[in-house]
């Protein structure tokens, strides 16, 4: 029952800083992706990563080993991201989008494995459509879609992270999927 995270938490609670650094290494990228997809802003996403680990550290003694560590840390990271989304002024998100266009969102710049420039372009176009569509969703749908398709959590895990019934999560995934289907169809035509 004692998995890696639980052991690291125990060591960190005893004051072992290296054990906590290992927890950070295990989860920093996942939390960063989550926050980045939620906020579409690299700087804010990194802030969320820092805040998340600070909270994890402060509340380490409250972590219940009966719960998956990932569920716990995702909950903290998700809530911090949602808080930021809600506090945002509408103009701010517009600025962020424009400011991020070239540098931070580097998906299009990453060379493909064995792809020709044409297929690479098509794939990145589809990807952009999907990212933009998810980005435009209201926070409650956005969160579920990101946890499902980016973090690849199961419906049950999402329901644990968000503390909502599985049926609610299901409905949101279904609606989100339908919405994306329509977006992709309109792109193809």
């Amino acid at each position: 029952m004692d998995n890696l995270e639980t052991r690291l938490v125990k060591l960190a609670l005893k004051g072992d800083q290296r054990a906590f650094a290992e927890i950070v290494d295990l989860y920093k990228d996942r939390i960063f992706h989550l926050a980045y997809r939620m906020l579409s802003n690299r700087h804010e996403a990194e802030d969320v990563v820092q805040e998340t680990f600070l909270r994890v550290y402060r509340n380490l003694d409250r972590y219940d080993p009966g719960q998956k560590f990932s569920t716990w840390i995702y909950r903290i990271g998700t809530n911090l991201s949602i808080d930021r989304l809600r506090k945002r002024k509408p103009t701010y998100s517009l600025d962020a989008e424009i400011g991020d266009q070239d540098g931070a969102d580097g998906y299009a710049l990453i060379p493909g494995d064995n792809r020709t420039p044409e297929t690479e372009y098509m794939i990145s176009e589809t990807r952009t459509t999907i990212h933009e569509a998810i980005d435009g969703l209201p926070p409650k749908y956005k969160t579920v879609m990101i946890l499902r398709y980016l973090q690849e959590l199961s419906l049950q895990e999402i329901s644990d992270v968000l503390d909502m019934p599985v049926t609610t999560i299901k409905t949101r995934v279904h609606r989100g999927r339908e919405f994306l289907r329509k977006k992709l169809e309109s792109q193809q035509h």
């Binding site: 004051g15 800083q17 906590f20 650094a21 950070v24 290494d25 920093k28 990228d29 960063f32 992706h33 980045y36 997809r37 996403a45 990194e46 990563v49 820092q50 680990f53 600070l54 550290y57 402060r58 003694d61 409250r62 580097g106 998906y107 990453i110 794939i123 589809t126 990807r127 999907i130 990212h131 879609m145 990101i146 499902r148 398709y149 980016l150 690849e152 419906l155 299901k170 995934v173 279904h174 999927r177 339908e178 994306l180 289907r181 992709l184 169809e185």
Partner: protein, 206 residues
Amino acid sequence: MECKQAVLLMHDYLDEDLPLEQEAQLKSHLDTCPECRAAFRRLEETEMMLFAANRKSESLSVSEDMTDRIMSFLPQPKKHSPAWSWIRRHPALTAAAAFILIMVGTSIGFWNADTQLVLKGNDLNRVQVEGNTVTVPEGTIIGGDLTVERGELRIYGDVEGNVTVIDGTSYQASTAHVAGQVKDINQALDWVWYKLGNIVSEVAYK
């Protein structure tokens, strides 16, 4: 099966949450309904693209110095005493313990509340009181119970009821005669029992 229901089943199927039996029903519907077949294919494609589009973004990574930055931000390790973490883990027990502590505290507080002599009983005009000493003189008959709190009781005469001494001392001379029981209560716990007994007997007599 209606197409509307088929769409619901398609989503459940993509969630990997469709029982085999219903999966068979969905399949047989798709075999007969080209529209649903097309809709299902599009949904399946969407699902694959959603996963694919997001998976590739794993190559996006957080600043390399993030771990160091976080570690330098951390406050000094909190030194929680074991007692404190125990309290945080067992709020109900803590509340119960606090309750008992307060209860015991107040009863003991009560017990020590004052040092004044208290005298209860019938025919009190027949006893003599000097400072903290209560005397039942020889030849006197007290026609009922006598209770002395925080005092010294000296009996030379007759008491027809019970004698109770709380937190004090009693002395019976050879001439003394007590018809009822003589009770000496000197400890807080006994005192509590005595009080409880009083409440019970009061209730019983009413």
